[in-house]
Amino acid sequence: MAEYKRLATEQDFKENFKQKKPLMNETQAHYESSRCLFCYDAPCMDACPTGIDIPLFIKQIQTGNTVGAAKTIYDSNWMGNACGTICPTGILCEGACVYNNQDVAPLLIGRLQNYATMSVIESGKQLYSPGEENGKKVAIIGAGPAGIACACELRTLGYTVDIYEAKSLPSGLTVHGVAPYKITNEEVMAEMDYLQNQLGYTIKYNNAITSKAQLSELEANYSAIFIGVGLGVTATLNMTGENLNGVHGAVEFIEELRMKHSEIKIAHKVVVIGGGNTAMDAASGSARLGAEEVTLAYRGDKERMGAYGFEYDLAIGAGVKGLFNASPLEILGKENVEGIRFIKTVIVDGKLSTIVGSEFTVECDMVIKATGQAKQGTFLSLIDGLDLDNRTRIVVNVATNQTSNPMYFAGGDAINGGAEVVNGAYDGKLAANGIHEWLTQH
């Protein structure tokens, strides 16, 4: 039973993918900001990966210095606006707000953050200008949150910055991956334009760096290189039927959804395989597109899922059904997908094992694999002397984000194996300062 009707128009899209954290109005911002206690050594601030001075920016909103509030936010986090709406605030800043300790609702920090940042984005208020040109050039591979943050920071330090980006839009997964009910494409792009207009870095779109020759050229032309390539496409399951029509990778599915909106035709019965946040987004997305039946199939039990509780609740709220302890064996069908054969699982001594003879089939006409993104191993192996850990993550010095090849710095999903936009923003800024320190010493 579908909770959402199928999309026909852009208006339908807007309704089904209504923003979860809409922009606050003045009255909301006034009341909400007046609740902040201005805690000493505030736990909310400590819980923000970029360490935004939260009590300060909330007080600035309260005293009518909204521009100052935006500055406080951007001083710590170049993705300040995107983070306000898409960060898992309940787990980060808002989860740490002291009000929780007396069961009083925590401050709506994320939305207050957007209130401040959107006001300067909309007015175009110039908060930053490039630092005095120092004659040095830095190349950045990937215009995701990490790459953009690194570019902004480097520009304030006076570097010339060229970003090489495989796709035709900036912000990486912020616009291509994050669920559409968390932020609109327009809002993401408005922040991207706002930053680029002030700081003036160059983004070379449709310019994937894929060969040794390209890398050598970058090495010859730039003083340092930042790797912000994120992760790759959805990993394969190595399972029969994976190539049938109607089998999609979750990341690719969400990207198409974000780019095409109501032009997407969703199937009737969708099964999403996986238990992480991406699986939740894919399942929610399918339901909101109007699929009659969406099943979220996870091989372990509910408690073992990697997804945040609130993401699961969002999916269930959209009409998704959970199917637990079901491990996929094969995808069925001739040309088009017709179903999935599962086997039941059970946890014995903390280990997942299958129950012999418990196979069963779920019919469907679409399968979304949300079983993780592949790593960028092939690309990364082209770089000389670049150490990776056993999970194909780039190894960096955490104080500077410098890699084992001193000319290269890295950040974001490429070093943490897949986290949040806010972590990418932190890494990019840190790496820029690492680059600055390294180039000043050499």
Partner: protein
């Protein structure tokens, strides 16, 4: 480059130099060298040391507060005395602070009794390296019972004499701190100026009782079943401080004396307001006692943003800029007319504007008859008093709109001068002769019905 770099917040207050106008008032936050160093490190530009004088004994407890709904310490009260730490310790720490922060302002607040004592303590704080002296004539409890503090602040002649003694003895700038516990602030202000003080600071705390304990029947803070009047400060006293500052700044013989503004300062807006009325440094106590030294971040960022917006580079560019606009009632334009307007799209239907106007003002708001809860202004009756717009909980929902064309100008002063004082009740702003009010009996007809339809 950044515009911020062009802004210079530094001040030279009668020779006392500081990197910015944000100073700590003489109070518990300036009790020790430890606190003052921590404050300077956090960004404060100056500190007036907790008042030094003779040995004292304090009571326990010492503070009370006015909590307004969920706002703690909207007003704050204390019954504390001057420093209870040995003078030698304070002096030693003062020297150490100055060693670490030579460019920050360290001002010694003093309160003693005889001329010899004044001369002696001034010498000691000068030797310790103080940049200036502040005379505490304001403490409204305890010390006045020993003939000091506000006992002096309320006696202009005595105040003047002491200022004269001090001016003769001191080689560093002297600030006289005034008590607000007086009906006419000009009297002690003028006395201080006539005694040749270099500068004035105000206000000290206001005599008060913040509440009564309903079990012990004693005022807060309760000390073993009894209490006493305390000194009130914090956000609640700002209006009193602004008023007194303005009075001094408009007085021909006082206005050239630099003023350090104190009283209820917590945000950058408060700072700007004090500067607009002529203060060229500000002092803060309660806000720091509430939130710690960290609030200076908000003060500084906000002040800079304001200055950037208005194109000022130093605080002297706008100091006193509001003074010409503070005038006597008799000079206000009687022909100016505003009326309330409700933004129906923003209204949330609390009807507080209706009831405040109907019960508390001019019966100029009508309840809707269309089943909604959105009221309307009865323009003929609205006198433009502001009440509804102050009561309305929604930002910019009720605005006061100008109704006159700005061409006419007439003041009470002009009416008096030209012998045209009205002898009938014919105020246009109150609807003229025919100003409509409901008949008294209407009051009994508008009772609300309960759910059963019966009048309560």
């Amino acid at each position: 480059m950044n515009k911020k770099d062009k802004i210079d917040l530094s001040v030279n207050f009668v020779g006392i130099k500081a990197p910015n106008p944000f100073w700590l008032a003489s109070a518990p936050p300036t009790n020790t060298g430890y606190q003052i160093m921590k404050a300077f490190d956090a960004g404060w530009g100056g500190a007036v040391w907790k008042t030094l004088g003779m040995p004292t004994i304090n009571v326990s407890s010492r503070y009370g507060s006015t909590n307004y709904r969920d706002t703690r310490m909207a007003g704050f009260s204390n019954i504390e005395l001057i420093s209870d730490r040995p003078l030698e310790d304070n002096l030693r720490e003062m020297t150490e602070v100055k060693k670490h922060f030579p460019d920050h302002a360290v001002i010694a607040s003093l309160m003693v009794d005889t001329r010899e004592e004044w001369e002696d303590i001034i010498k000691q704080v000068e030797d310790a390296g103080a940049d200036g002296i502040e005379l505490n004539f304001g403490c409204p409890h305890g010390m006045c019972e020993r003939g000091m503090g506000s006992a002096v602040g309320q006696e202009p002649e005595v105040l003047k004499t002491i200022v004269e003694w001090v001016m003769e003895a001191a080689n560093i700038p002297v600030i006289t701190k005034l008590s607000p516990n007086i009906s006419h602030i000009i009297d002690p202000g003028l006395a201080a100026v006539q005694g040749k003080t270099d500068a004035i600071s105000l206000i000290n705390t206001v005599k008060s009782i913040v509440g009564i304990d309903l079990d012990s029947y004693a005022p807060y803070p309760v000390v073993d079943g009894k209490g006493t009047n305390g000194g009130y400060c914090g956000p609640a006293v700002k209006p009193i401080a602004l008023h007194m500052l303005k009075d001094l700044m408009q007085h021909p013989e006082i206005k050239n004396t630099p003023m350090s503004g104190i009283g209820g300062i917590e945000t950058w807006r408060d700072v700007v307001e004090f500067i607009l009325l002529g203060a060229t440094s500000v002092q803060v106590c309660t806000a720091v006692m509430h939130y710690g030294f960290g609030i200076v971040r908000e003060l500084e960022a906000g002040l800079i943003n304001f200055m950037e917006d208005k194109g000022y580079t130093t605080i002297y560019d706008f100091a006193g800029k509001a003074l010409p606009n503070v005038t006597d009632w008799k000079h206000l334009n009687l022909k100016s007319e505003v009326k309330a307007r409700i933004n129906k799209d923003k209204c949330i239907g609390c009807d507080l504007c209706y009831i405040s106007c109907d019960d508390g003002a001019h019966q100029a708001i009508a309840l809707p008859t269309d089943g909604s809860r959105i009221p309307t202004i009865i323009e003929e009756n609205c006198v433009g008093c502001n009440l509804c717009s102050l009561v309305c909980p929604v930002e910019d929902c009720i605005t006061m709109e100008k109704f006159d064309d700005g061409k006419e100008h007439e003041t009470w002063h002009e009416l008096t001068e030209s012998d045209r004082i009205p002898d009938t009740w014919n105020d246009d702003r109150a609807g003229g002769k025919g100003h409509w009010v409901p008949e008294p009996i209407e009051a009994l007809k508008t009772k609300r019905k309960d759910k059963s339809g019966w009048k309560k």
